[in-house]
């Protein structure tokens, strides 16, 4: 009763599917183009798994920096990948390695020219990395290394991540320069700190598309730009590492006091003595913003307190609390504690605690407010108790003054 009309199954299904996919993807198909000749010369190297591609280039360093070589055996590493999302479908297609050598940066870039040759590419990288004493990356711990590990696991090749010491510059950079730049991306830092200008460098976000273009159409025109981008990244990484090292070497008047504070903060746990030195230097500098000065004094006082230099801490904080009209609540509380338990100046401690209490009503973070208020109330009550106990035990000393301390006292 029902007759099917024309439906030659396969061909039309595919046609339909093509339509369907277009709709799914919502983007126009790209026409094929003839492959232009390659532009970048790459060196081929033999590995046990076949031929890998590489390019070696020396980048001269500015003379003042040339001397600041990192320890021998340091390799800077930066990768270019086909995506940022991670997972097994993201390829690492360029691994750039740089060593600081004789006043220049020797950049060696391994390139995955053919997805079928990934084993050779990974083997070549492994061989190059094996000789290094230390690898330095920018955010390698959360980005480059996990992606590389995935690639090695998928290729069933041994993963070298655990065999070489790894310094991820990113957390150090954040500590040192958070106050000096709007964010701590490599490109932001290089502009803010190194005055680097990459010219018309392709942004990193475009790397995957350039690479796919190369793969699909054998269009090698984009390769120089990919390699150059990676080279810029390595250069910035090496120079930032050098600057970080110089910065940590000691308070150097060439650097911004804000950077000293960063260094001090970074060293607090690692080397408290040097950290204190940075804080003191920063407090002695005139170019420090007020808020930063107060915070530096607070943290220095805490270092001193930990070292047992309680009087110094009390003196420093008392001075800051006098100079800064609104010192941090925490500083007031810290100082109140020292006044109460160390100096035993309950009156001063009470004044500080009451000031803190008054401000905590509005200033403490909402999620902690009830806790903060409870703790302060508790402190105030205890101080009041202690004060009145002291008055009771020493009536001669406190009696007259208690009489003066009425509500209308001047």
């Amino acid at each position: 009763m029902i007759e099917e009309s024309v439906h030659p199954a396969r061909a039309s299904e595919l046609a339909r599917l093509r339509e369907l996919l277009r709709r799914l993807e919502r983007r126009p198909p790209v026409p094929r183009r003839p492959a232009p000749p390659p532009i970048l010369s790459l060196e081929t190297i033999e590995t046990r798994y076949g031929v890998a591609l590489r390019r070696v280039e020396d980048v001269p360093l500015p003379p003042p920096l040339a001397a600041a070589a990192p320890p021998a055996g340091t390799l800077f590493l930066d990768t270019e990948t086909t995506g940022l999302s991670g997972g097994t479908g993201t390829y690492v297609f360029l691994v750039g390695l740089a060593s600081w050598d004789d006043g220049r940066l020797r950049v060696t870039q391994y390139f995955l020219g053919d997805l079928a040759a990934e084993a050779a590419f990974l083997a070549a990288v492994r061989d190059a990395v094996a000789a290094a004493r230390q690898l330095v990356t920018f955010n390698g711990r959360t980005f480059d290394f996990p992606l590389l590990e995935t690639r090695y696991l998928l290729a069933r090749a041994p993963w070298w991540g655990g065999e070489v010491a790894h310094l991820d510059l990113y957390p150090l950079a954040r500590a040192l320069w958070r106050a000096r730049a709007t964010d701590c991306r490599l490109t932001t830092l290089e502009t803010a700190l190194l005055q680097m200008d990459r010219g018309d460098d392709v942004p990193g976000a475009l790397m995957p598309q350039l690479y796919f273009r190369y793969l699909r159409y054998q269009d090698a025109r984009a390769l120089p730009r990919i390699f150059a981008h990676n080279r810029w990244d390595l250069l910035a990484l090496a120079l930032l590492a050098a600057r970080a090292e110089a910065l940590l070497a000691g308070p150097d008047p060439h650097h911004d006091p804000l950077e000293w504070l960063g260094a001090a903060r970074w060293l607090e746990r690692r080397d408290p003595t040097r950290s204190a030195g940075f804080y003191e230097a920063a407090l002695g500098a005139d170019r420090l913003p007020d808020g930063a000065r107060t915070r530096a004094a607070w943290r220095l006082g805490r270092l001193w307190r930990r070292a047992g230099r309680l009087e110094s801490a009390v003196a420093l904080w008392t001075r800051v609390a006098r100079e800064d009209p609104t010192p941090p609540l925490g500083l007031l509380v810290d100082l109140a504690k020292l006044c109460e338990h160390h100096v035993r100046d309950y009156a001063a401690a009470l004044r500080l605690a009451l000031t803190a209490l008054g401000r905590a009503e509005n200033e403490s973070p909402p999620e902690l407010r009830s806790l903060v208020l409870a703790a302060l109330h508790h402190r105030v009550r205890r101080l009041e108790r202690r004060l009145s106990a002291r008055r009771a035990s020493r009536p001669a000393a406190s009696g007259p003054s208690a009489g003066v301390e009425g509500p209308h006292a001047p």
């Binding site: 599917l17 996919l21 097994t88 053919d114 997805l115 079928a116 699909r216």
Partner: protein, 820 residues
């Protein structure tokens, strides 16, 4: 509160009283005898540590089906277990899994549950069992697992409880982080197999194809154990899902107590109009005496609105004496997890006497044993009905279930044909893993996970064509005989296994906002969640949102793409609830095949279905009267899907009547009838299909696609009809005013009945229906001939007041002519 003598005796007595009082309203009473257990002693092969753990939980022997599953698995195959609720189904898989994990310290097992809640439920049960077995490291891994705990779970767990969505988007694309799992994967457990029907099941089948590929990469071939509620074809469904032969375990060895089933049809209050007493009120009235006598009762309702209305009604009726608050609770999707856990616990521990639920409690959540199940409305499928009935039941002693029919035609059919119901096989679980929409999406994910080797099959299917196509689209790149993923995107992120949109709305109570602000707390009062699909018909501005009987009025709904999806509500006390009024339109996009059903023209292809909530009705709680209305301004929601359309040729129309008005009545009746009969042929829920009466699409092939992309032309160029939904009608009853007006005035009168898959992209229902039209029309004719009503009733062409006075005779004439 409980009457002396304990509830057991009362239940039998109260059921007898219900039947006696109801008179003719009870259309069937069936009694089932108790069944003794069939026990098999614990096999010697069971690890002594495990045997001890079982004994300490009172398990000395196995039910025969548990032993059978163990036997099948020992031979190395896969198996599917289909036994009723509370028959010890989980032990069928826990036993072999725990045995494997105890014998081999490196072995791993993966459990998949359709919901996070079920995984949590199973975790609690397993932990109980594993208390004496330190070798077991059991963890859930799902969207709720904190980021910092995930690494530990991946490294540590030898039993991972997860869900298909997480496997799809979180585990498979990162399989290198799960090397320990995949290299040692011995068992994959798929519980609640019956939920993986239709598109969801087709997706899971493809996720499992991807799982097989990844396992092959790591050199493993895990055994699958599936557990299912009753469906007609568990073995077939499991085999299609897994893509391999599966052994069936279906003989239940667990004992059960005696059981009574009662079918109840609310009495007719207006014979002329075919109106019966409102079924929700009837369900509440019937359930009340049981609850008052302290009999634990679960009541099911078909929709969230119906569930809340029924809950409110029942609470009013039962929780009247003071001190009796909260003995009746609600339960449905959208309640926050904390509330749900509290209710589940209350039920298990007996503090909660009654619960009113949607089908959310149909699945295996442990709520202990209940005495009575009241089904307010036929759940839509035989399988669901048995599952809901099974929620009341004990190993010994009497339990009972009462089905209260609504006036929807399927309900009426079942309640008036109890033999049909009791003789019927449960529905088939249908899936189509090779549905191109589904398949291609998963091929992308699979290629992301591991490159395809030339000639590699996906499931049993050669996918070379698809791979080439994806390469042309630039998503894959062929190199060295492999197809590599070459796109920046993470394909699993763009593919949801479920049809519900990814964005949930949170419902925030602002009643105490100012007070809260004064107290300086910024914690927001999130009281519920609503999924994207339901949001526009549940939490539109001025809607009354009900949650466990409490009323909230929606103040604002934030739905724009760049906004957080939030509904702000305020507590309110009114005597009505609101029911959304939806405008709807259907357009043909593409014709795949065409044919003629007798003198009708039928085609199958792709449709666009657009819906919009335009207003709401206010309905009074106690009388269910319509007491007002309001307008709503919300954007249109669209879906592309597969459908078929049947155009009635002018000569057929002319032969039936010259009166267009009458013809439109008849056509509406016909649409209703076909829509409600088709599920019986397709083994699907009536809600899986949509229907629409409209114009014929242009003759010359597909309608212009550009028309569809340009949304403004949709909105202004055509007048949508109006569909109304009310909990009493169950599903959409089209009043089709827009279409009616248009059809009546159209130059070319070419009315067309559209039936389509209610799932974006389609699930092959309309495709199959295209071939089933002759028997469907035959059944329609029989139904009309046999229906005793005068001018249409919910069991044939729809309630007469909805479709018009002439609907029935004209629909009959049309069907006769169409049949040829």
């Amino acid at each position: 509160m409980a009457a002396p003598g304990g509830p057991r005796a009362d239940l039998a007595e109260l059921i007898d009283r219900l039947v006696a009082d109801a008179g003719g309203a009870v259309t069937a009473t069936r009694r089932f005898a108790p069944r003794p257990p069939r026990l098999v002693s614990l096999p010697d092969t069971v690890d002594p540590r495990l045997a001890d753990a079982l004994r300490s939980r009172g398990i000395e022997a196995l039910y025969s089906h548990q032993a059978r599953a163990l036997e099948l698995l020992a031979k190395g195959g896969h198996c599917v277990v289909v036994t009723p609720t509370a028959s010890g189904k989980t032990l069928c898989y826990n036993l072999p899994v725990l045995q494997a994990l105890l014998t081999d310290p490196s072995a791993r097992a993966l459990y998949l549950f359709p919901t996070k809640a079920l995984a949590q439920d199973q975790l609690a049960e397993l932990e109980e069992l594993a208390r004496a077995l330190p070798e077991l490291r059991i963890h859930t891994y799902d969207g709720d697992t904190p980021q910092d705990a995930r690494r530990a779970v991946r490294a540590r767990a030898n039993l991972v409880l997860s869900n298909p969505d997480m496997l799809h988007a979180g585990i498979l694309p990162h399989h290198t982080k799960w090397v320990a799992l995949f290299q040692n994967l011995r068992y994959v457990i798929i519980d609640e197999l019956h939920t993986y029907r239709g598109v969801f099941g087709s997706h899971l089948a493809n996720v499992l194809r991807r799982l097989h590929r990844v396992c092959r990469h790591y050199g493993t071939a895990p055994q699958f154990v599936c557990a299912s509620a009753t469906i007609a074809n568990p073995q077939e469904l499991a085999e299609r899902l897994i893509g391999q032969p599966v052994g069936l375990v279906s003989e239940n060895g667990a004992p059960s107590g005696a059981k009574v089933l009662v079918f109840y049809n609310p009495p007719v209050v207006n014979a002329e109009l075919g109106i019966r007493r409102p079924y929700l009120k009837e369900a509440a009235r019937l359930a009340s005496p049981f609850l008052k006598h302290g009999i634990s009762t679960i009541t099911f309702a078909g929709s969230r609105l119906a569930q809340e209305v029924l809950l409110a009604t029942l609470k009013t009726a039962v929780e009247r004496p003071p001190g009796l608050t909260n003995v009746i609770r609600g339960y449905r999707g959208g309640y926050l997890p904390g509330r749900r856990r509290e209710i589940e616990r209350g039920l298990r521990e007996g503090e909660v006497l009654g619960v009113v639920s949607t089908n959310a409690l149909e699945l295996g959540i442990d709520i202990g044993h209940l005495d009575l199940a009241v089904l307010a409305g036929y759940p839509g499928t035989i399988a669901s009905t048995w599952q809901q009935i099974g929620r009341a039941g004990r190993r010994s002693g009497l339990s009972a279930a009462v089905l209260v029919a609504s006036s929807a035609p399927l309900d009426q059919f079942m309640v008036t044909h109890p033999d049909y119901f009791f003789g019927a096989s449960p529905e088939h679980g249908l899936i189509n893993p090779d549905n191109p929409y589904v398949l291609v999406s998963h091929l992308k994910c699979a290629a992301f996970e591991l490159p395809f080797v030339d000639g590699e099959a996906f499931g049993e299917r050669d996918v070379g064509d698809y791979l080439r196509l994806l390469a042309e689209e630039g998503l894959l790149h062929a190199a060295g005989g492999r197809w590599h993923w070459t796109s920046e995107s993470y394909p699993a992120d763009h593919l949801s296994l479920r049809t519900v949109g990814s964005d949930n709305f949170v419902v925030i109570d602002t009643t105490h906002r100012e007070l809260a602000e004064r107290q300086l707390t910024k914690k927001r009062q999130v009281i519920a969640e609503v999924d994207w699909k339901s949001a526009f018909s549940m939490i539109y501005p001025k809607a009354i949102y009900l949650i466990e009987g409490e009323q909230f009025e929606v103040q604002e709904l934030h739905f724009r793409e760049d906004e957080e999806k939030v509904a702000y509500v305020k507590r309110i006390q009114v005597d009505y609830f609101t029911d959304a009024i939806t405008a709807k339109g259907v357009w043909a996009l593409d014709r795949f095949r065409a044919g003629g059903a007798g003198v009708g023209r039928v085609a199958q292809g792709e449709l666009l279905v657009a819906e919009q909530v335009v207003g709401f009705k206010k309905i009074k709680f106690d009388t269910m009267e319509n007491v007002g209305s309001g307008e709503v301004e919300l954007p249109q929601q669209e879906m592309q899907t597969a459908g078929l359309w049947l155009t009635i040729p002018p000569e057929t129309l002319a032969a039936v009547s010259r009166d267009r008005d009458a013809l439109v009545d008849g056509l509406r009746g016909l649409t209703y009838l076909l829509h409600h009969l088709a599920p019986l042929f397709l083994m699907c829920d009536v809600r899986d299909l949509g229907s629409w009466l409209g114009d014929a699409p242009p003759d010359d092939g597909p309608t212009c696609r550009e028309e569809v992309v340009d949304r403004d032309s949709l909105a202004s160029g055509t007048r949508p009809g109006v569909a109304t939904r009310s909990p009493d009608a169950g599903v959409g009853v089209l009043t089709a005013q827009g279409t009616r007006a248009r059809l009546l005035t159209a130059e070319r009168f070419e009315p067309t009945v559209y039936l389509y898959d209610n799932q974006p992209g389609g699930i092959g229902l309309a495709e199959k229906l295209f071939e089933l039209l002759p028997p469907l029309l035959a059944r329609a004719r029989e139904t009309l001939a046999a229906c005793p009503c005068r001018a249409g009733c919910p069991s044939c062409v729809g309630p007469v007041n909805a479709v018009g006075r002439q609907a029935k005779p004209l629909a009959a004439a049309l069907v006769e002519r169409l049949q040829g």
